[in-house]
Amino acid sequence: MESPINILIVDDEPKNLVVLETVLDNPSYRLVRAESAEQALLALVAEEFALLILDIRMPGMTGIELAKLVKERKKTARVPIIFLTAYYSEDQHVLEGYGSGAVDYLHKPVNAAILRSKVAVFAELHLKNREVEMVNHALRTEVAERRLAEEKLQKLVEELEVFSYSLAHDLRAPLRSLRGFSDILVEDHGATLDGDALVYLRRISTSAQRMDDLIRDILAYTKVARAEFPLTSVDVGKLIQDVAAIYPSLQPDQADINVAPNLPAVLANEAALVQVFSNLLGNAVKFVSHGVRPRVNVRGEEVDGFLKLWFEDNGIGIPKEAHDRLFNLFTRLNRSEDYEGTGIGLAIVRKAASRMGGTVGVDSEPGRGSRFWVMLKKAQQTSQLSGLAQKSVLDQSR
């Protein structure tokens, strides 16, 4: 049940207090009586009130003086006051001095209906305030709890990152040994081993390498999925060229990579974008028919503040029914004997793109090459900038 509304009634005449009690007899009100300003002050210190009904003319401290103290005290400053006065004309100027809506006055003898309705208005106001207060309190508590939960989660994520990193680190060390020793056996003792032994050793080495690739890619995926993601303006054309310059399979003696000039800058995380481009370019040159020289065309298309980057290849293509699951973790469409891979690369691409507010997709058919696209937010609104002008904008923003 709602707690009752406390109302303090102050009058030096006990019979006036009885009148007030009679008029305001209501189960939702709790009336507290005070027969002097001093008594009223004690009551105000002891508990909280929704309303003060105050006789002005009292021996000792007057109602006006009491009201002044009430308004000065921070805890009670906002408690509304209804003055009761038998000498309206004399007290009027003092009452007007208050000027605020939280103060009202009534003539004595009191009109019961008017008093009840005025008190009801203040009571209603008090209930509303109490409600707002409660909602506010609940909100504050919720915000605080949420902040605490977020901090905990952030800590947990950080711990998990350190954990998964050291786990992967520890998992990779024995694999390096496995691979290293089988390679050494082949290299240093190959002459004394028969053909089968060499084949088995190579298989050990390949398996170790494959496991190492898997761990490396899972690590890259978790990094993209969890790490902090500050977005900055990135020169995509330059970044694609940089990526193409690093990977052996993307070198000019291995493949033709053609990047359209003057691609607009995008709002992205550079490290994540390196993962996106290296995976898309790596796939584009990897999945070609035997003996075909890989050819990749990268071009941009501007769509509503986004840059849609197309990666078009001359590879083996992908059947339509596989397009949906292509970007899922561990999806492989080819035997590892034909094309090596962990099935994680495109999952990294999609996760990275979505964390940068972008999307990815593919348009492909077997035998007709693949056209992968990634859609990224452009770094600035104006799209008519020339390549040169864009570069200077970029330089300034660094």
Binding site: A173, S177, R179, G180, D183
Partner: protein
């Protein structure tokens, strides 16, 4: 007597790989090995058995792993670069399986000359040893402070 290179490495397999790489690379350096950070500091400061500089000469170059059981590679790096003026010309090559950007940055900040990832193939390790020694220890005009990274 040939010059010395010190390997700070706790993994026995990696020590074996490095020893083989030194043999294969035919570099004119003697490889000494310590298995932890504490031992590395003892060696470099000539504590205990390491006071015998005939058997344990000060190295020209240190291959330093980062994750070591007792005193970490970072701490060793810091100890060498802060307050060991006698070792200021000694080349420190961090050789680790970490490729965390933060680790790389921290290693360079603490004064590492080079940061290399442990290659997974023995043949690549041999090439790396040859390259590192050729780069840092050949001729009087050694290139100081340049960044050199293996793939």
């Amino acid at each position: 007597m040939s010059d010395t290179i010190l390997l700070v490495e706790d993994r026995a397999d990696d020590v074996l790989f490095m020893k083989r790489a030194f043999t294969k690379a035919r570099v004119p350096y003697d490889l000494k090995v310590v298995n932890g950070g504490r031992q590395a500091i003892d060696y470099l400061s000539g504590e205990g058995i390491y006071s015998d500089r005939h058997s344990y000469p000060l190295p020209k170059l240190v291959f330093l792993d980062l994750s070591l059981p007792d005193v970490s590679g970072f701490e060793v790096l810091q100890w060498i670069r802060k307050g060991q003026p006698a070792l200021k010309d000694m080349v420190i090559v961090v050789l680790t399986s970490s490729d965390l950007t933060s680790d790389i940055q921290r290693a360079y900040d603490l004064g590492a000359n080079s940061f290399l990832s442990k290659p997974s193939e023995p043949a690549k390790l041999t090439d790396m040893v040859r390259e590192v020694i050729g780069h840092w220890l050949s001729g009087p005009d050694r290139q100081q402070g340049s960044v050199h990274r293996a793939s």
